[in-house]
Amino acid sequence: MSDTTRRVATDVGGTFTDLVAFETGADGQLKITTAKSDTTPPNFEAGVLNVLEKGGIDPATVDFMAHGTTVVINALTERKGVPVGLITTEGFRDILEIARGNRPDFFNLHYVKPAPFVPRHLRAEVPGRMTYLGDERAPLDLSTLPDIMENFRAEGVEAVAICLLHGYANPTHEKAVLAEVEKLWPDVSVVASHQITREWREYERTNTTVLSAFVQPVAARYLSQLDDGLKSRGLPKSPYIMQSNCGIDSLAATSKIPITMVESGPASGFWGAAELGKLIGEPDILALDIGGTTAKCSLIEGGEVKIMTDYWIERSRKSAGYPIMVPVVDLVEIGNGGGSIARVDDFGKLHVGPQSAGALPGPAAYGKGGTQATTTDANLWLGRINRGYFCGGSVEADMAATESTLSDLASKLDVTVDDAARGIVRIANDNMVNALKLVSLNRGHDTRDFTLLAFGGGGSMHAVALAQELQMKKVIVPAAASVFSAWGMMMSDLRRDYFATQLMDLTAGAGARIEDIFAQTEAEARAAFEAEGVAPDKISFLRYGKLRYQNQEHTTEVPLTGDITDASLDKIAQEFHAIYEKEYTYRLYAPVEMVGVHLVARAEVGKLIMAPAKLCPADAQGAIKATRAVDYALEGVHEATIYDGDALKPGMSFTGPAIIEDSGSTVVIHPGNQVSIDAYSNIHIVLEA
């Protein structure tokens, strides 16, 4: 009946397609259902329909559906896009291959430079130039375009990318090329840089445009099949698609510029962290998502996630990678998860990750032939994970295999097996601490001012140790931590981030110019939303200026409120000085300039509303399952009380040492920690002062 609201999140991963359904009853109570089925390439919509059926969800009864997918990142990393032809400014067709000339692996004299996604013979030039101020320096000449298109067709090109010099400042030439391409070759997939980004740096923008073109036909096909499949089963409204900027966007808009989905996987979890923080009065959060192969973290300040356009794929100490200049949540990801392999190198040093045992063979304890110890094996050995309730009781832990792999490491390190296992946990924790520092201390934030929110399969096992190391006072493990990302999707708004480069001094006249850029961008955003049927009163904006000291390169974002006039310039500059000093420890008495704007356009489209439960008495005795010896590494072995996570109710509280177990996760609570369950069933762990 209509007094139940049903919201569904589906997520297509490499192996599995997941479903989480949230049903809010008339009494405001929330019921969560999960289901899992195989991913079904190349007809991914079949897997989505299967998982809906498995979860007992009739698409016709779904009020709101959000969908996350790895289709874009997979097409990129597996090079399964389409052949692209590039049209660029005369004199610049090699930009894509020149890239930025850097060589991160700098002692290596055999460094391999990443190959461009478009080979040289498919990179064409057209005469015509804009200046950095957006004035036309030389007129555009389209006379060679028919020949270029002819050549592209003959060479099997399936998508065309257009990126012209200074197209961010004035897209008139790009628009003319776009129109001409569409006229000459109406059914080709085509994208121009100004449709994706209005920021400068021609290599980054060209590569972004090319990568977008590369995945566009693949992603569009995927999304239209998904939409058709769901609609044919009665889904009333197209699903919203999770984006890298922590928002969702309409399926139609995503089909046009699918590259914005590139890092959508982690984004929903971090959005969930921000929303949960707002719900429970914790606006400053360090969010940590530990999965099987990686750990990801992001900092949330004042309830806001940080969105940047400095995103790269395949970038490492060994490779320059490829830039993608789209709004992506600011995160750090390291190869350190439950399945990360521990090894001792030729010099007797212990390393954990980034190699992972994956799903097969997995940790040695899976008993599927894994011969290398993983973080999960160490956690089992130390009693942190219940040997008798491994993977929620679905797997019998092969402790003999675990012992054998740990003994192997122990002999290489010349320590006991226990010490080897503790070493793995300590090194894994250290890797994660360093990642957390990158998003906090390295950016001028004091970790003591933040609460650690840990989710994903492994987050709650390591969170307290990490918080101790970073001198944080509190850890929160959300309810249903293992499906927290899906919850995040349910909490998302429609969100579009607009970035525009426009260099100006903060002097008389600038106020009106800045206001004008925002007004134009807001009008553009509003028109786009309204064209998709979003009610005008649901739309809201956040404005940020990107400022720097004159002559610097990197900018600092300053939140701007109200209409901007020349009278506000001084206040803007003062706020910049203050934010800059906080991040970098000093301020300069130098002129401040504005490099561009960042506008967040949001519209609420029916996200989940959470209702608090009544608190029961504090006594948690009823949830105790057992006690067992747990090795806390640096704090030694303690007899810990084991609680059944499903039996813990809002209002209950207790003190560590303890372990909370449910089918999806294990929460390790250190001696002296104060634990309480809040009205939304989140676990709050206060560390001993």
Binding site: G101, K113, R201, E202, R426, Y549
Partner: protein
């Protein structure tokens, strides 16, 4: 009692993280594009005696600089206090490179005990001297190349010495840039100092020091393991240079030592292309590191098996007060000499010659839209040599640079007020082989105002990148200035006048080829033709295809 190996490992990871954090802090706050974009900078940590413990990403040519600076500061100063920051730039006072490169170093104390140093180095845009940008091909003495800072305190127990800061800024043509960059450097060493202090307090100074020692021992063990795999013997090379001089190197590799002998080389020059002994040592360290484990951390221990012999008064070991502004072109020659000398004996470790020049390019003038002075100071990208089983890479910085970025045309046009007419791969002949060298660069700047200047100093212009096993040599580095009355070609020029509508065309070399071109795979030749790198006619001539 011996220390817990896991704790040592965690401290060593923190050393690396701290170097990286200092690097990030400096990059984000610097004023000059040569620092924040080109990343002509480095950060590092030494132990209390100034031995290198770890270094931040950046450019390999700066990795071995900071230890030498700290060692000099230690030898000069008796009164080193918590909160002090030292500054030096003079190669006879711990500065190593040239006067533009300011080194800042800060001691780290725990409970009154000196336990480490944090330091950084960065190229500053103008430090005074006879020419804008401080570098002039006409300099005869270091005094003409800017203000010399002989390892002095710029911050005294946390209090900035305004006198030193005033002298510094007053001597620069670009005082605001200099001041901003020096502050970025101070902020960076302070970030590092705070982190290391916390680390040592947490784990105790004793354990912290043990971690540093064991890290360096690990560096040595790793280097010696690779040294054992190198061919043993003495190898020698004489190589003529663009200016007619002949340089010499002898390399002797034994089971436990790698000796590079540069003693038999010409006397120091009367111009600014002199290298100092410390600089020459760094060149040998870079190549040694490439041969003995580019993947393991670079620290003091990594270089213990290496000995470098030089002769004071020679071009590789210049005496005060030699001019040293263009030191880097001489340094890269010494590095390339060792490379070329050994490559025939270890072709799996060393590819054929690359464009092997910093190709330092300086363009300045007045920005036509803002009326402000602009100065471009940039190294160029070029072609790398082919290896025994692969083509060389195109348009990448030389081996002195690493995590270095070129300047985008869109940013250059806005910042410098000139036009970038072209940024393209250089398709001129050169570098062909069974495996081709990578492509160099063609970069065209069109000047928009009067009274601009151009200074360049490129090597590998006449004597080109060297090939292996019958490949063709590279095409050579040069710059062309195109004026209405004709085109001139240069490899060294100082303060050349450039004016409205003049075009400066920077052309860098392809890398050299490896192996007989006639053995090149036919499919690869067809791809070269299709890519427009070579005409069908010339392909048939060179490759016999």
């Amino acid at each position: 009692m011996s220390e817990d190996p896991i704790t040592l490992e965690i401290i060593q990871n923190a050393l690396q993280a701290t170097s990286d954090e200092m690097f990030a802090a400096m990059r984000k706050t610097a004023m000059s594009s040569i620092i924040y974009e080109v990343l002509d900078m480095g950060t590092g940590i030494t132990d209390a005696e100034g031995r290198l413990a770890s270094s931040g990403a950046g450019i390999p040519a700066f990795i071995g600089v900071l230890d030498k600076s700290v060692q000099f500061i230690l030898s000069k100063h008796k009164n080193i206090r918590p909160g002090d920051v030292f500054i030096t730039n003079d190669p006879w006072h711990g500065g190593v490179t040239h006067l533009n490169d300011l080194v800042l170093a800060m001691p780290v104390f725990v409970d009154g005990q000196l336990i480490a140093w944090t330091a950084n180095i960065a190229h500053n845009s103008d430090i005074g001297g006879m020419a804008p940008g401080s570098l002039s091909g006409d300099a005869k003495e270091v005094f003409q190349e800017g203000l010399r800072l002989p390892a002095v305190k710029i911050v005294n127990e946390g209090v900035t010495d305004d006198a030193v800061m005033d002298i510094l800024t007053c001597n620069s043509r670009m005082p605001d840039f200099l001041k901003g960059d020096v502050w970025a450097a101070i902020a960076a060493v302070r970030v590092g100092e705070r982190r290391l202090g916390n680390l040592a307090e947490k784990y105790t100074a004793k354990t912290f020091l043990a971690a540093m020692d064991s890290f360096m021992d690990f560096g040595e063990t790793a280097a010696r393991a690779e040294l054992a795999k190198l061919p043993k013997g003495t190898f020698e090379l004489n190589e003529p240079q663009d200016d007619g001089q002949v340089f010499n190197v002898k390399v002797t590799i034994s089971d436990d030592e790698f000796v590079v002998d540069f003693r038999d080389n010409p006397d120091q020059s009367s111009g600014p292309a002199n290298a100092t002994r410390d600089g020459t040592v760094i060149c040998a360290q870079m190549l040694f590191k490439a041969l003995t484990g580019p993947d393991t951390p670079a620290n003091d221990g990594s270089f213990r098996p290496l000995t470098v012999l030089t002769r004071e008064g020679s071009i590789f070991h210049a005496k005060e007060p030699a001019a040293i502004g263009f030191y880097y072109e001489t340094e890269i020659r010494s590095n390339d000499l060792i490379w070329r000398c050994l490559a025939p004996h270890i072709p799996d470790l060393l590819p054929a010659g690359h464009f092997s020049s910093i190709c330092g390019t300086f363009v300045g003038g007045i920005h036509p839209d803002t009326g402000r002075q602009y100065t471009i100071i940039e190294p160029q990208i070029g072609g790398w040599g082919a290896g025994h089983n692969h083509d060389g890479i195109s348009c990448t910085f030389c081996n002195f640079h690493g995590e270095t970025y070129n300047t985008p045309a869109e940013i250059s046009e806005a910042r410098n007020g000139l036009y970038v007419d072209r940024m393209a791969l250089n398709t001129s002949p050169g570098g062909e082989g069974e495996f081709n060298g990578g492509r160099g660069l063609v970069l065209e700047y069109r000047i928009r105002t009067r009274d601009g200047f151009l200074t360049v100093g490129y090597t590998r212009s006449k004597v080109k990148p060297w090939a292996m096993e019958g490949g063709n040599e590279g095409s050579g580095n040069y710059v062309e200035v195109i004026k209405p009355d004709g085109t001139e070609r240069y490899s060294f020029v100082s303060g050349l006048d450039v004016t409205t509508d003049d075009v400066i065309r920077v052309v860098t070399s392809s890398g050299a080829g490896y192996g007989d071109p006639r053995k090149r795979d036919l499919a690869a030749v067809a791809a070269d033709i299709k890519s427009g790198f070579i005409s069908t006619e010339r392909a048939s001539e060179i490759y016999g295809a």
